[in-house]
């Protein structure tokens, strides 16, 4: 028995294992330091679900600050432009209960329009626009780039002459969607007259 037992064996085993632990620990430590991501990945994921209108209706200056606040434990239901869809997506992501929207839901997609005859060129709306969608210069008429406008209406309040309207956005024909009845719960909801399904 005494021949199989040796201190040297035990010590070398402990030494080797400790050595391996140190080496791999150092490797992992270096890797975590080297490939450290600057952003919090969860905040990024939350931010991706927000509509990015940057309207500030949640009480935060933009979508990203709100995403950070949600990560800190703020309520999910403060985003009117996103509506129920966003609340549900956030609740799914964070494993929380979906609460009803706090505030009025956005009725339709709108776009800012400057009545150019009345614009005095004060540049206040340009400073308010979170996505640089208004062009113009001091004492020159301003105008909104429709494609870039997110419809956040942050430019409406600063205008000293109230020449900015929020108008419904025209939808291109390619994005047309047929209306479907929300209640297709039981089969008999399907009406004979409404059926346009051709069949031989």
């Amino acid at each position: 028995m005494g021949e199989t037992f040796s201190w040297w064996g035990i010590l070398s085993a402990v030494g080797v294992l400790t050595g391996l632990g140190v080496v791999f620990g150092a490797l992992l430590g270096m890797a975590s330091e080297r490939f450290k991501s600057q952003e919090n990945p969860l905040v990024e994921q939350i931010n991706a679900l927000l509509p990015q209108t940057q309207c500030g209706q949640c009480g935060y200056p933009g979508c990203r600050p709100y995403a950070e606040a949600i990560n800190q434990g703020d309520a999910l239901n403060k985003c009117p432009p996103g509506g129920d869809a966003t609340i549900h997506a956030l609740a799914d992501l964070l494993g929380q209960e979906a609460a009803p929207l706090d505030g009025e839901a956005a009725t339709e997609d709108s776009v800012a329009f400057i009545r150019e005859a009345e614009c005095i060129g004060c540049t206040k709306c340009i400073q308010a626009c979170p996505v640089d969608a208004i062009i113009g210069a001091a004492k020159q008429m301003h105008t909104v780039i429709e494609d870039e406008c997110t419809g956040c209406d942050l430019c409406v309040a600063p205008c000293p002459v109230d020449c900015i309207d929020m108008l419904p956005r025209s939808k291109p024909l390619t994005q047309w969607q047929p209306l479907v009845s929300a209640t297709m719960i039981i089969a008999s909801d399907r009406s004979y007259t409404g059926s346009e399904h051709a069949r031989l």
Partner: protein, 553 residues
């Protein structure tokens, strides 16, 4: 060569004899045409005429907008009476005077010239999808093409337009095929045709020996089974090649064209005639003179059907396209477009409305007939549950919407309708996501710009302060922080530099992969990184100025 098999398929009643008995005729000229600006896949065309302009047949009235789009030409001579966002209306003057382009010879003229003609002729695929032909002919730039497949299968019931085209103009269609084959570099042309068109087959057999140059033409007669006219299905059948999921036939060296498109291409090149008319099958039990007609684009469906003897009291519905994949019209004022291949004026006994939908009994019949080897039942559940990620996993976008599953469903579930809705919903969602992503980048750029402006302002202020306070001696601030500040600022500047380099690399890589695309978002990201770098530089300069200011006294 043996014919290969695609999975699934059905055998619906053909009902082609309604319309393939009469010879090809010309429909009467309409008094008024409405030409939609978007009759093709891609962007709508932009009008280039004004109300009150006089136009001739073939005058350009709307120009293509962007790469994937097509020109639009007047289809009658007369006066423009209305231009809206969607369509241009022309009132006829009754003269039918033409404005044609100079004729070209497809054998001798340069490919660039021919491509330019396909573009200026406003050609789009006449089979149904309406893809601009000049783009399709240029596909050889990215993918080597060895075979041009002429899709003459025409598998949908009722439709006989391609049948009549091949019977009436076999030589012209084959010449058109040679023209496209020359442009895309195909060595071989295969005509895939179902065996229910014996007259067209014999006409082709007569014409074939004369037109075997430069590409060799092979005729392949295949068994009649729906949907053998699907692009993927036909390629499988005649070439035994599988188009990859989410890919194009060009990925496997094949190109598929409809005989009508080939005929129109030849007319545009040889005769200089832009695409202003097409052959439409007018059929159904409520028409007294069914058949195939040359119809000017933009002709209202109502007047067209009336001219061939529509019986309005028996009419139940008018379907554009075939009974399997077509859509019912809600108004007879709709115009004939470049993609209208068939109009079925059906009585109620002919195409009765679908019975009431029952729950799915999981019989699996839909799965057996699906030509794309999908799981229609699963797609049905998940489409109704709006579970979009699962739908993507089940390859919803490989569905060709052929309607075979709806046809065999014993519970009369409108499966294809579900899939179409789900596809539309997913596409809209993608557009929304892209839009919000775009807004996010612009917002980030603005934030970076404001930060940079602020930092530069601070730096300038510090510089001014330093000049003023030099004689008075430095302020007695804390001693440790400037050092730490300087170090962290230097790190921040290095990080900003790395971010700029990374953004540049991403943009360069994207541009290399697809040089024709525009990369607004990536450019904005790069600009944001550059602003951040400038801000970091300014902050660093300011900190340096303040430390030197403290050290000097």
């Amino acid at each position: 060569m043996p014919a290969y098999e695609f999975p699934g398929g059905i055998y619906p009643p053909e009902r082609k004899t309604h319309s393939n008995q009469a010879p090809l005729q010309a429909a009467p000229l309409p008094a008024l045409v409405t030409l939609p600006l978007k009759q093709h896949a891609g962007n709508a065309a932009t009008p280039c005429v004004a109300v009150g302009d006089d136009v001739k047949v073939g005058s350009l009235i709307a120009q293509r907008n962007g790469m994937i789009s097509a020109h639009l030409h007047a289809s009658i001579s007369g006066t423009i009476t209305h231009i809206s966002n969607q369509a241009i209306t022309i009132e006829a003057d009754g003269h039918d005077s033409w404005q044609t382009l100079p004729p070209l010879d497809w054998r001798t003229d340069s490919p660039e010239k021919l491509l330019e003609r396909l573009d200026s002729g406003g050609l789009a695929g006449l089979g149904g999808a309406g893809f601009p032909t000049y783009i399709k002919a240029q596909v050889a730039e990215h993918h080597p093409i060895d075979t041009l497949v002429v899709n003459a299968a025409e598998c949908e019931p009722y439709i006989t337009a391609d049948d009549l085209i091949l019977r009436s103009y076999p030589n012209d269609v084959l010449e058109g095929a040679q023209l496209i084959a020359r442009l895309c570099g195909a060595q071989r042309i295969i005509i895939g045709i179902e065996d229910n068109k014996p007259e067209a087959i014999s006409a082709l057999k007569q014409a074939l020996p004369q037109i075997q140059h430069p590409a060799t033409i092979v005729l392949k007669v295949i068994e009649t089974r729906y949907p053998s006219g699907g692009e993927r299905q036909l390629i499988k059948k005649v070439l035994d090649r599988d188009v990859p999921s989410g890919g194009l036939p060009a990925d496997i060296g094949a190109l598929c064209h409809n005989p009508g498109t080939l005929l129109a291409a030849l007319h545009a090149v040889r005769d200089g005639k832009p695409l202003v008319e097409r052959i439409v099958t007018l059929t159904g039990e409520t028409i007294s003179a069914p058949g195939n007609y040359w119809v000017r684009l933009g002709t209202p469906v109502g007047t067209l059907l009336n001219s061939v003897g529509l019986m309005p009291d028996r009419l139940h519905q008018v379907i554009v396209g075939g009974p399997m994949m077509g859509t019912p019209l809600t108004t007879l004022n709709s115009p004939v477009t470049k993609t209208t291949n068939c109009l079925i004026a059906a009585s109620v006994t002919e195409l009765p409305p679908a019975p009431m939908e029952s729950p799915c009994i999981r019989c699996g019949a839909c799965e057996h007939v699906c030509p794309a080897q999908l799981l229609p039942q699963q797609l049905h559940w998940y489409a109704r549950a709006e579970s979009d990620s699962t739908l993507a996993k089940l390859n919803l976008f490989d569905c060709i919407e052929c309607g075979a599953c709806s046809y065999v469903c014993p519970s009369f579930i409108p499966l294809v309708e579900d899939y179409r809705l789900a596809k539309q919903r997913i596409r809209l969602k993608q557009i929304e996501t892209a839009k919000s992503e775009h807004a996010k980048h612009r917002f980030e750029f603005r934030q970076a710009r404001l930060a940079r402006e602020e930092a530069e302002k601070q730096a300038r202020r510090q510089a001014r302060l330093a000049q003023h306070q030099k004689p008075a001696g430095g302020s007695t601030g804390n001693h440790a922080t400037p050092e730490v500040d300087l170090r962290s600022l230097r790190i921040a500047q290095a990080a900003a530099k790395a971010a700029v380099k990374k953004a540049e690399k991403v943009l360069a890589r994207a541009a290399e992969q697809d040089p024709k695309q525009r990369f607004d978002d990536l450019e904005t990201q790069l600009a944001t990184a550059q602003e951040n770098l400038k801000a970091a530089d300014a902050r660093l300069a300011k900190a340096r100025a303040s430390t030197t200011q403290k050290e000097t006294p």
